[in-house]
């Protein structure tokens, strides 16, 4: 799994390439929490290159979202691939986390 961070004015974009599973979930969670500690409010998880997310991965997204919420911010996702979208739909994630179709949508009007 590879994580790239892109700081924009509106939000911090975290692009994940690979899989978020038991092996990498902790690393992912630590990275997002680190960004929140550094002061990021709005975090957009760009999942264009995310191939798979396990229940451990879902949980780490939830933890990050909860932390952001407690600081007055929010975590959202965008550009979900087929398999990840199926998991999100099945688990009802879409009612817990805002999902956008694309990065531009997520960033909103600049």
């Amino acid at each position: 799994m590879r994580i790239d961070v892109d700081k924009h004015e509106a939000a911090v974009i975290v692009s994940v390439d690979g899989r978020i599973d038991t092996v990498s979930a902790q690393e992912f969670q630590d990275k997002v929490e680190e960004l929140l500690d550094e002061g990021a409010k709005m975090i957009v998880l760009d999942f264009e290159k995310l191939q798979y997310v396990s229940s451990a991965g879902l949980r780490s997204i939830l933890v990050a979202a909860r932390k952001a919420k407690s600081r007055g911010g929010a975590v959202s996702c965008c550009s979900l691939q087929t398999m990840v979208r199926k998991v999100f739909d099945l688990s009802g994630f879409t009612s817990m986390i805002t999902v956008f179709d694309s990065r531009q949508q997520a960033l909103g009007p600049e």
Binding site: T22, Y52, S55, R59, M83, S91, G92, F93, S95
Partner: protein
């Protein structure tokens, strides 16, 4: 090791000394040779100069006689003056060719010589003395060139050693080519002066000079009885030393030379420097005793030797001490290493007071042994702890196993249905759950669930969930209400955001109607008795335990007798092969479709086998749960 160091140092020293010695020896030898040769030449030159000056006197007289007319008186006067004025001359004569002085006189040879009272006249031409046949006349006459005679003792001249220089003079009136000789001018030279000079030459301490004639006869030598009696060659013969003969030849052949003659001339081992006297062909030799010649280098040698010995001695001493100071601790460490290898870690090889490499090594070594001791202790403790945990885990696994219904067949007394389930955790304990129990006489409740994550935390969550469901399903009518209640309980105090997906179904055994709800769980597969397979359309609902206000739905389905409900966790569809391919719903559908007529326990086993062969080689990523429920017929009264 010590020995090696010493040998090495000694070898180097010895080589340097030997080479140095050789070089110095060569330099001094070369210098000595050059010096000796020049000395010989210089002495020889001086002597030759004296001989030359005598020859010049004869030349002057000859020159005078060739020009002008001379009579008895004028000649006598000339001769008288010549001898008188020249101290080095013993005598001088002018011998005329036959009838060359005066036609009436066949022979005429006035001779003037030094005697006690002054200069005395003698007429050599007499009846008893035929000078024409004497060497001193005959030879230069025939050769028409000046000749130095071989040295001789002159009885008349007080037995002095003498040599005579004879110089022909010519009749200038005769034509050039066949010049006629008019007579011979002679001058006699005593060699006393010369030989004294030779004997006066100081050569080092016990060296000496000697003079030999052009025949090798000794003219001057410290051994006085050799003079005129022996020659180099006669000695060579007498002593049977061919080398001496060769030396003699060289002395008379070459202009100048320097030879190592050993003791062949008697006395100590020596070197000979010689130079020729060009006029007479005599040879002057200087004998240098070898030890005196090389006295300097020998003493230099001795000094160096002494220094070297002291140096080597010191080096030896220091090397020995250093080597010992290293070798001893090393030996100790080697012994300690052996002990460590045998398991004894109570070693101490510190060298107190030493800060150098050896001291550091000793400290490091001892530290290492102590560290090893600690590591081993920690490892032992950890291993013991691990074993405790493992045994506790296996206890936990057994507890968990006992929590899930595992007695099969589960309801042998009920013929309306058959149910079988299997849960295989990815670790010792899992986060998947299945459960089934009779709510009452007519209703069977079945559950399949999957807690996020795996291992002990998930297992604990799973246990809580299972008991909540069992407790709640008793009081609530509909599956969605059960899920709601369970969700509310779980969502409370859920800091860690753990969640569980649940499929809950209640089958009415009298009607065959199945009511069911799902909280984020994979839709089960329904195998129809016609051989069709379809995934149930679940009523929707999020994962359980996160949002306390989550909404769930209930759906209904009438089961045809012989239908099989195949419920499972995502450990089935998300089982990955070695090259990263997922088992997927499609494959499950394909595999399960033909299994509707098989007994439920076979169905679960066959599906599990398919998963295993698909994942061959890859480790199990998630807990796998498979539950098969077949509805045979409604309750018969």
């Amino acid at each position: 090791m010590t020995l090696l160091v010493l040998l090495g140092a000694t070898a180097v020293f010895a080589f340097i000394l030997a080479y140095g010695n050789y070089i110095i020896h060569e330099i001094i030898r070369s210098d000595a040779e050059t010096g000796a040769k020049y000395r010989a030449e210089s002495v020889a030159s001086k002597m030759d100069a004296e001989l030359r000056s005598v020859a010049e006197i004869a030349e002057t007289v000859a020159y005078a006689l060739q020009y002008g007319d001379w009579n008895e008186e004028t000649m006598n006067a000339l001769m008288f003056r010549v001898v008188g004025n020249n101290e080095q001359l013993y005598g001088s004569a002018v011998a005329f060719e036959e009838h060359a002085f005066r036609p009436e006189l066949r022979a005429y040879a006035p001779y003037f010589y030094r005697s006690g009272s002054g200069v005395t006249y003698e007429q050599l031409a007499s009846s008893s003395y035929n000078y024409f046949v004497k060497d001193w006349y005959f030879i230069p006459r025939e050769m028409k060139s000046p000749v130095w005679s071989a040295p001789y003792f002159d009885e008349g001249g007080g037995n002095a050693l003498m040599t005579t220089f004879s110089l022909p003079f010519f009749d200038l009136r005769s034509p050039g080519e066949t010049r006629k000789i008019k007579g011979i001018v002679t001058v006699d030279l005593t060699l006393d002066g010369l030989t004294q000079k030779v004997e006066a030459v100081r050569v080092k301490k016990t060296g000496y000079a000697f003079l030999v004639s052009d025949q090798g006869q000794f003219l001057a030598h410290p051994q006085k009885d050799w003079i005129m009696r022996e020659s180099i060659f006669s000695l060579a013969e007498e002593w049977n030393r061919p080398r001496l003969r060769e030396i003699g030849r060289q002395m008379l052949r070459e202009r100048m030379g320097f030879l190592d003659i050993g003791d062949v001339l008697g006395g100590k081992a020596s070197f000979l420097a010689f130079a020729r006297l060009p006029s007479t062909g005599w040879s002057l030799g200087l004998v240098f005793p070898e030890d005196e010649l090389f006295a300097e280098v020998n003493s230099l040698n001795r000094t160096i030797m002494l220094q070297a010995l002291v140096g080597v001695g010191l080096l030896l001493g220091v090397s020995f001490l250093v080597a010992r100071s290293i070798a001893r601790p090393l030996r100790r460490m080697a012994q300690a290493t052996r002990r460590v290898a045998e398991g004894d870690l109570e070693i101490d090889v510190t060298e107190p007071g030493r800060q150098d490499e050896v001291g550091q090594l000793g400290q490091a070594f001892t530290r290492m042994a102590q560290d090893l001791k600690n590591y081993i202790r920690e490892l032992t403790e950890t291993t013991a702890a691990k074993q405790r945990i493992e045994s506790e885990l296996s206890i936990a696994a057994r507890i968990q196993k006992s929590m899930l219904p595992s007695r099969f067949p589960a309801f042998p007394e009920r013929d309306e249905f058959d149910i079988h389930a299997v849960m295989r955790p990815a670790k010792e304990v899992g986060g998947d759950l299945y459960d089934f129990f009779l709510l009452d006489d007519n209703r069977l409740c079945m559950v399949v669930g999957d807690v996020s994550g795996k291992g002990v935390p998930a297992a604990l969550f799973m246990a809580v969930t299972k008991y909540l469901i069992e407790a709640t399903s008793g009081s609530e009518e509909l599956p969605d209400e059960v899920l709601s209640r369970v969700n509310g309980q779980l969502a409370r105090n859920n800091e860690s955001c753990m969640f569980v997906t649940i499929f809950l179904g209640i089958l009415n055994l009298t009607t065959g109607e199945l009511v069911y709800a799902s909280g984020g769980h994979n839709p089960p597969l329904l195998l129809s008795p016609e051989g069709e397979a379809d995934f149930l359309a679940t009523p929707g609902g999020p994962i359980v335990g996160v949002m306390d206000d989550a909404v769930f739905g209930t759906d209904k389905l009438a089961l045809k007798p012989g239908s099989v409900l195949l419920a499972y966790s995502d450990g089935v569809t998300e089982a990955f092969s070695a090259d990263g391919e997922a088992f997927s719903e499609e494959r499950l559908h394909r595999v399960a479709q033909p299994l509707w007529k098989k007994p439920v326990e076979e169905i679960t086993d066959l599906v599990m086998n398919e998963i295993d062969s698909f994942c061959d080689g890859a480790p199990q990523a998630d807990d796998i749960t498979i539950l098969a429920l077949r509805f045979d017929h409604a309750t018969r009264r």
